[in-house]
Symmetry: C2
């Protein structure tokens, strides 16, 4: 059974996705969860609190995934494959929250904004290091590792917009096709 | 020499990029272009007019590019290469406008929103047909053409965020690396 606070966070994520964070008001949120504004404030101090939770919960999910991948002792290719799976699974399992995480983080206030950008930069640096290892070992083609990094990260960003339960998409087929395109694209030796 | 109206459109695009369309006001815009609000309204009827121009100018640019590619008589592979170049060039040449086009179109009012979505769907369908032709001829790997389409389109969306004149990026190197990853990723025969 969900707590009232959980319901509020979920409805807030949907509201931010639909209207954008700036345009969404605490009053809109109160209406959605059938509370008076005064009652809503007993659960949540401010809109910003919800945005922070969404952004840092997702960031933490990615960081933990990266920790696991780094410790795995796999080849750079298998590490990239595991990270593609991580991104796809987060996007498919929690599309509303990932939309807010991707598009609305810029509305975080300091010091949270700086902390968020540092987490993101750290994640990107660790991903880039894996790509560089693959290039250095000759498994990946000789491309600018930053160009490769952002091409990969960006290429996954449509999934949470596109995927709806009604599409009955086969997760494994999606993962297989996306991974085939991106990993074969990175591989050298053609 | 730019007309006052051109300056207003350019500053509006920057303003929408920085604050988001919803949060940006005509008063903000008036301040940016050193006009009184009443004078601004003699040039521009409403914020919506600016958003429409940005969205439909960009849509028209993509549609014209697709017309040229379709008429070229090239192979599916060369057509995809030309479309990747089209996307990269638009993103590099007009990054502010493309940001608004990508992120703020959802604020268009009807009937413009429907018209915009129809143009986008038409473009996507034509791009998907080229991918399908490549798969049917065995040049591209056997993947879901929609998954391939959105992976390609999405993979280019970081460029306008990332590219700044200060980075002195080599356009041709960027195009070469992105094209190598995506076209080799699509190719079959591995």
């Amino acid at each position: 059974m969900k707590t009232k606070k959980q319901v509020i966070f979920e409805e807030a994520a949907k509201l931010f996705q639909e209207k954008g964070y700036s345009a969404a008001s605490m009053r809109d949120l109160a209406d959605r969860v059938n509370l008076k504004a005064s009652s809503l404030y007993s659960h949540i101090k401010a809109k910003e609190e919800i945005l922070q939770k969404i952004c840092f919960d997702n960031a933490s999910h990615f960081t933990q995934g990266m920790d696991t991948v780094e410790k795995s002792g796999q080849s750079p290719e298998e590490k990239v494959r595991a990270l593609l799976r991580l991104h796809l699974e987060i996007a498919l399992d929690d599309p509303t929250s990932i939309t807010v995480f991707n598009d609305e983080w810029k509305h975080l206030e300091e010091p949270h904004l700086t902390r968020f950008l540092n987490l993101r930069r750290d994640y990107e640096n660790r991903f880039r290091t894996i790509i560089q290892e693959g290039i250095a070992s000759g498994v990946f083609r000789s491309v600018d590792p930053t160009v490769a990094l952002f091409t990969l990260l960006s290429s996954l960003r449509w999934i949470h917009y596109w995927h709806r339960p009604s599409r009955k998409i086969d997760r494994e087929a999606l993962l297989r096709d996306v991974t085939a395109i991106l990993l074969n694209g990175l591989r050298s030796g053609k």
